[in-house]
């Protein structure tokens, strides 16, 4: 085997809080619930507008229409004069209290302004430095109370930030704030994939001058090499039980799908095409995979059982289809379509085969579902620069998140963490 001369490849592990992102939300869904999130009493104690964080979380789901409180400032149910809130269906009020030292508590109340009834009254406490996380918890509780589905505002996302020849693997809150670096390298990083319990991320690193798959534990930053066979090792995807991964190797042939246990044992090949098979992703029941293949000529999405066998073509749009992802309920999948010089994000229902364009923006790639299936995260570009964006599953509400430096690539939404 040829030994390539390695020099320092500048791998640094770091845990650095980063500057915040600018967020822009556009569009509006049908049947949005009008809600007013009133500025919380005592937010001067935390130098953060908690109500604004909660309101932005709710707004980007596309389910709510945010109504400005226009100077009305009730902080609990007794201070509300309902006739003032015509046109508002839901009211969220809150009060921040200092407990001791850096400990704070927030009491919040969700009111049905039409029925004049209390839907939720909760007190949460936390350290002063965790106020943003607390705001996301409040948004999660409100969202769940009003939709019946769990909120994803406390979940995290991962992506790669490329900036002046340096690559960072970043973990951040679902709204793009609170960035932390998991890996910094002078060589490319690709395809981060969350373990189902959210404790680890598998990814592709070129630090040894070719693609190899590593698994890194978030809490300890420890990592292991999962696949470093000759050629390229890439596209890791976790099984829903976290016991094995699908990945793509070129060691025997062109890029083909393999399964391997999470400890690196029991490697076996599952596709045998004379074409490129890549980007595997597990169905929620763990019994099948979607993947990208050009076995039919141009890249399209196929489905194969995990014990191998014949693959079934899924996509038939004109153009090239890439990067499939199952919805959390397994009933649909998203993918990226390249057609007429434009990259769009599409969602396709397995049963009806119905296809819907979620975006038609031009450079939208690498979609992944929020763990509740209501939003899709993807990579896009604004003024030639790679950024993060989300779109609601009805395609109506879009959110762009612009980092202060660098290009954002390869985003992936993490799981619910118990």
């Amino acid at each position: 085997m040829v030994r390539v001369v390695f020099l320092i490849f500048g791998i640094l592990f770091a845990l650095t809080a980063r500057a915040e992102l600018a967020i822009e939300i556009t569009g509006a869904g049908d049947n949005q619930t009008p809600i007013s999130v009133v500025r919380f009493a005592g937010d001067e104690l935390v130098s953060k507008n908690l109500a604004e964080v909660v309101a932005n979380d709710l707004k980007r789901t596309g389910l709510f229409k945010l109504i400005d409180a226009s100077g009305r400032v009730p902080h609990d149910a007794s201070e509300v004069r309902y006739p003032e809130w015509l046109g508002v269906e839901m009211l969220l009020l809150g009060r921040i209290n200092t407990d001791h030292g850096d400990e704070l508590s927030v009491s919040f109340t969700l009111l049905d302004a039409v029925r004049r009834s209390e839907l939720l009254h909760v007190t949460l406490s936390t350290n002063k430095t965790q106020m943003r996380a607390l705001a996301h918890q409040i948004a999660d509780r409100v969202y769940e109370r009003l939709t019946g589905a769990p909120g994803v505002f406390s979940t995290r996302i991962a992506y790669v930030n490329r900036h002046q020849g340096s690559y960072r693997l970043v973990v951040a809150d679902s709204d793009g704030y609170g960035e932390q670096d998991l890996l910094i390298s002078k060589e490319p990083i690709m395809s981060p994939a969350w373990s189902p319990d959210g404790s680890k991320i598998a990814y592709v690193s070129f630090e040894q001058h070719r693609a190899m798959v590593f698994i890194q534990t978030l809490s300890t930053k420890q990592r292991v090499l999962l696949a470093g066979f000759s050629g390229s090792n890439s596209a890791p995807a976790w099984s829903p039980d976290g016991k094995q991964l699908a990945l793509v190797l070129t060691r025997d042939d062109f890029s083909q799908l393999y399964l391997v246990n999470a400890d690196g044992s029991n490697l076996r090949r599952i596709t045998f095409s004379n074409a490129i098979d890549t980007e595997p992703t597990f169905a929620p029941d763990g019994q099948s995979l979607l993947f990208t293949s050009d076995r039919g000529g141009s890249p399209q999405i196929y489905r194969v059982a995990i014990d191998g066998g014949a693959a079934q073509r899924q996509t038939f749009e004109s153009g090239q289809a890439f990067s499939p992802r199952f919805s959390p309920d397994g009933k649909a999948f998203v993918y990226s379509l390249y057609s007429g010089g434009i990259f769009s994000i599409l969602v396709q229902d397995f049963e009806s085969k119905q296809v819907q364009f979620l975006t038609t923006n031009g450079r939208d790639r690498k979609p992944s579902f929020s763990p509740n299936g209501r939003l899709v995260l993807f990579a896009t570009e604004t003024m030639g620069r790679g950024i993060l964006a989300t779109v609601s599953i009805d395609g109506k509400v879009k959110q762009k998140m612009v980092a202060q430096g660098g290009e954002i690539r390869e985003p992936v939404w993490g799981p619910f963490v118990k």
């Binding site: 001369v5 020099l7 690709m190 141009s298 990226s336 790639r365």
Partner: protein, 195 residues
């Protein structure tokens, strides 16, 4: 020509370190001094010594063939050198078969590898930015593989050639148009130090 090979090998050693080798110039002379990468740090010294030693061995091997080279006329030598100075081949969109325009270049490297059995190369494949990063990685791998096959057909041995891919990473042109994409759909032949 021997000196050229030595120069190229030194250059590609450095290039392999940084993996950002600039496109080989089309002029035959002095392709050697331009490719030091930005991330070559202090620990390069040991590797560079090793590289120099290995390159010296290659030079000695090449010297052994000197007499044979004498019969080659000056024009042909010039032309071979030009082909060897070029280490990059290009591909149309979504295509991984070697193009006619690049066959002389690959043949020159394949022939050289056949004459220098201790020399080794790494072929890195690349793709333009269209497609997904993973599909492009696979496409680059396929381009590297077809380049390897052509090198073998020209006299190189399988064991002398490893293949890898960067896909759409490390573009040589950063634009978002066909002019840039055409430069990025490529495979690069990089000489490395064999064990």
């Amino acid at each position: 020509m021997n000196k050229l090979i030595l120069g190229m090998i030194s250059a590609t050693l450095l290039a392999a370190c940084s993996s950002t080798a600039p496109k080989a110039p089309s002029a035959p002379a002095a392709s050697s001094s331009t490719s030091a990468g930005g991330d070559v740090g202090a620990s390069a010294t040991a590797a560079q010594i090793k590289a120099a030693e290995d390159a010296a061995k290659l030079q000695a091997a090449a010297d052994a063939q000197k007499d044979a080279q004498h019969s080659v006329d000056a024009a042909a030598t010039q032309s071979d050198a030009a082909r060897l100075a070029n280490r990059t081949v290009y591909f149309p969109t979504n295509v991984d078969t070697l193009q006619d325009a690049d066959k002389d270049v690959v043949m020159a490297h394949g022939t050289t590898l056949g004459k220098l059995p201790q020399a080794k190369v790494r072929v890195d494949g690349y793709a333009d930015e269209r497609g997904s990063s993973e599909f492009n990685l696979a496409l680059g791998q396929r381009r590297a593989k077809s380049t390897k096959q052509a090198l073998i057909l020209s006299g190189a041995k399988d064991a002398q050639i490893s293949t890898s891919s960067y896909g759409e990473e490390k573009p040589v042109a950063t634009g978002h148009d066909e002019a840039a994409w055409a430069q990025n759909r490529r495979a690069e032949i990089n000489y490395v130090v064999g064990q």
